[in-house]
């Protein structure tokens, strides 16, 4: 498939250096965080808390595997239906689906209960929502719809010429999927699977809220407990390393499985409808997904209306909105820059090992437990003699940008690789320098994906609860922190209203940002 020195791929040493520098910096950061904790832990007595590590690993892996497999199946089905169907409100619906992954897990879990809980809209059906099923269902909402959004982008980017050829051959819906769609999404699946697995593996509030007791839990809560309850930092680091080890195995496997995307073009407005049976199936998939995914989010919006008036009058609310917006904007910018650099380096890399080395640190960061991350950063900042109040916003921005980086990689790497492979000869023959290659060839083609990345990382930090917990203060409060604070003071209506407003903001970002950035790119071209 690939020769070691492919003449079709332009040589871009600067890109490789830039990407390698970022990958190294992320790896070094993870190492430093752990070192800081271990350093602080030295001289501490071990608590010897009785943790059943074997069971924890078993139940966490089972839950994460179920969440991943189901999310991918649902994601493919939904992306397939959305790619074929055109209807009013389609882009709003896509925005709503995609926003689930960045909505705080707590909001989704409560939304799920509004629909399926025993006092919910469909509570009469008596579907048990607590336990492994509930946890997987919540992850499915968060991750399945997100998978659909990412896969849809790949399906929508299938070149018009391929579709026309396929249509003229009168391919059956199944053959069309196997011959045209599958090759387009195949490259994205392993990276996507790795991300979903990591998210489910490290999930914490959802698992405790819906897990139904200690039978269903994750390693992450054992780590949290080691840090908080036992203050056994060495144990926390050991558990975190187990978690990273397992996740790293998944990441490496996915990197090894990932084929390289080879084709990419401007999205075409499809004029090729599938046969009636297939269309019926598509509509059913869509309706089921609306019921399953959109209804809990819709319930969140409805639940929020009661407290809206109160919240809009609070100065603290508007301060939190401002903080959340600038944190989100700053980390989205950072994610985009890092993501494009890494993905471009990946595309320019000729060896599989090189590509793996470039992406592993970014993914590994996602496997670092949030509490360890916050703790390590806190100790590091103090060891460096900086005030935590002063550095809090910087740490939150960087931490959130890095959390979103794997998503940026999963979104940007396939199209950039496809461009390098399909336009490489042209770029070489025109003797374009790297900057012009980027501005004139790549950017116009990836702008829409870049918009998705910006929306994703913007919303990620909007909804972040993990990093800010140790650093947040009275003066530095984001929307999710404000929501938790309201919940902690019996103010459930306020909390529901904040949750609803966050959701609105997230959906708006998902609908508007990709279009905005694509329009900017078009204006340049």
């Amino acid at each position: 498939m690939l020769q070691s020195a492919d003449p079709a791929i332009p040589r871009r040493p600067l890109r490789l250096i830039g990407g390698a520098a970022i990958a190294f910096a992320v790896a070094a950061l993870i190492g430093t965080l752990f070192w800081s904790i271990l350093h602080a832990a030295s001289g501490q007595a071990a608590s010897g808390s009785g943790i059943d590590l074997g069971y924890l690993i078993y139940i966490t892996t089972l839950q994460a595997t179920l969440s991943t497999v189901l999310s991918l199946i649902v994601g493919i089905a939904l992306a397939w239906a959305l790619n074929r169907l055109r209807f009013p409100g389609r882009s709003l619906l896509i925005g709503l689906f995609a926003s689930a992954i960045v909505t705080p897990g707590l909001v989704v879990a409560f939304g799920l209960l509004s629909v399926w809980g025993r006092s919910g809209w469909l509570g009469g059906l008596g579907i048990p929502i607590f336990g492994l099923g509930g946890v997987v269902a919540a992850h499915l909402i968060l991750d399945g719809a997100f998978a659909a959004r990412i896969l849809l982008a790949r399906l929508d980017a299938i070149p018009d010429t391929r579709l026309k050829t396929g249509q003229s051959l009168a391919l059956s819906p199944w053959t069309r999927f196997a011959v045209i769609d599958w090759p387009a999404i195949r490259g994205t699946l392993p990276g996507l699977a790795a991300i979903i697995f990591l998210l489910a593996f490290t999930s914490f509030p959802i698992v405790l809220l819906l897990g139904g007791g200690p039978a269903v839990q994750t390693l992450e809560i054992a780590i949290y407990s080691a840090v908080r309850l036992d203050f056994d930092l060495a144990l926390a680091v050991r558990l975190a390393l187990v978690q990273i080890g397992i996740c790293a195995a998944i990441i490496l496997a996915s990197a090894a499985l990932a084929p390289i995307s080879a084709s990419l073009d401007r999205p075409a407005e499809p004029r090729w409808r599938d046969a009636r049976v297939a269309r019926t199936l598509q509509w059913s998939v869509l309706s089921l997904c609306i019921l399953g995914f959109a209804a809990p989010l819709f319930a969140t919006l409805l639940d929020g209306i009661a407290g809206l008036g109160d919240v809009l009058h609070q100065a603290a609310f508007w301060n939190a909105v401002a903080t959340s917006l600038w944190i989100g904007a700053a980390s989205a910018t950072l994610t985009l820059v890092l993501g494009i650099t890494l993905a471009a380096a990946r595309a320019a890399s000729l060896s599989r090992a090189g590509r793996t080395l470039l992406s592993v640190p970014a993914y590994a960061y996602l496997a670092v437990p949030a509490v360890t991350l916050a703790l390590g950063a806190f100790i590091l900042v103090r060891d460096l003699g900086m005030s935590t109040g002063f550095t809090a916003p910087i740490v939150v921005v960087v931490a959130n940008a890095l959390l979103a980086l794997p998503f940026a990689m999963a979104t940007l790497a396939p199209p950039l690789e496809a461009i390098t492979r399909s336009r490489g000869k042209l770029i070489r023959s025109l003797d374009l320098v790297g900057t012009r290659q980027f501005l004139e060839v790549e950017w116009p083609l990836i702008a829409r994906d870049a918009g998705l990345v910006v929306a994703l990382s913007f919303c990620f930090s909007l909804g972040d609860l993990g990093v800010i917990a140790l650093f947040g203060t009275q003066d530095f409060t984001t929307l999710p922190l404000l929501m938790v604070r309201a919940l902690g003071a019996y103010r459930t209506h306020d909390a529901a209203a904040i949750a609803a407003l966050m959701l609105v903001l997230t959906v708006a970002a998902f609908v508007a940002l990709p279009r905005l950035i694509e329009r900017l790119a078009d204006a340049r071209a």
Partner: protein, 331 residues
Amino acid sequence: MLRFAPLALAAFLSLTAAAVAEDKPTLTIYTYDSFAADYGPGPGLKAGFEKTCGCTLSFVAADSSIGALRKVQLEGATTPADIVLGLDTSLTGEARATGLFAAHGLTFDKLSLPAAWTDPDFAPVDFGYFAFVYDKTKVKTPPNSFEALINEPASFKIVLEDPRSDTPGLGLVLWIKAAYGDKAADIWKGLKPHIATMARSWSDAYGLFLKGEADMALSYTTSPSYHAIAENNPNYAYADFSEGFYPQIEIAGILKSSQHQDLAKKFLSWLVTSDAQAIIPTTNWMYPVTAIGDKLPAAFPAAPAKVLALDEKTITADKAAWIDEALAAIR
């Protein structure tokens, strides 16, 4: 986007400058988030104490009280905190063992607490009793003991907090231990079919209960007072358990590293005055540690007849084993 950076920098520099320009001493208190929040007791206490102290009172919120303690432990002698406020009596022994806290040298003899206050290092802040709260319109005959709760049909659900992540969760472990001793594991086994879930925090658990996902939630005897006073909703009550109730007393301690020892002591002794304590009930929804007469809202229930207790040394030594025992019984 880069434009934000200098702006943010400027904002921070001006903040630091403001702090330096202040020549009054600042007393820094680490506490849990909802204590310091706008609608918590923090702002009222700040305003009250600053009237007389010639100082600035600054609350710094951590996500939880134990989070505040861990923050101080990480910061060590260089911590900017003078006082840690909000730990409870289940963590006293552990906090004392850190060696970070100084003796307060104060006497607290005019308090109205479940037991006389003799702790040399920590001062009381407020207190409450753990209890299961229910909605009177939905549960007509609430269970009146743990055993009655166990005998409810399996469809009768409760939500708990995880003892590893939340103090009421830990409180229930201690409550059952205090009431049943060696039989505690049997009670936990009996509770298992009724546990809808064990949430990460009190707020998640109570949120689930308010959403109707369970018939009862582990909370405080004073929780119904919030609904009665703030929401004008008299429908909530707590289940009166015949085993008795286990108290949670929130405490505050002065750090040895504090540069403001006298000011910190002054704050702790002011904190138990009726002026300060009158702020507590309708902001933190806990009992004041001093009698405040008719300033205690009528909706606050009378103290339970039977109050349970555990010895601090035993708690510190066996807490981890008790948690493991409870979790193993319901897994």
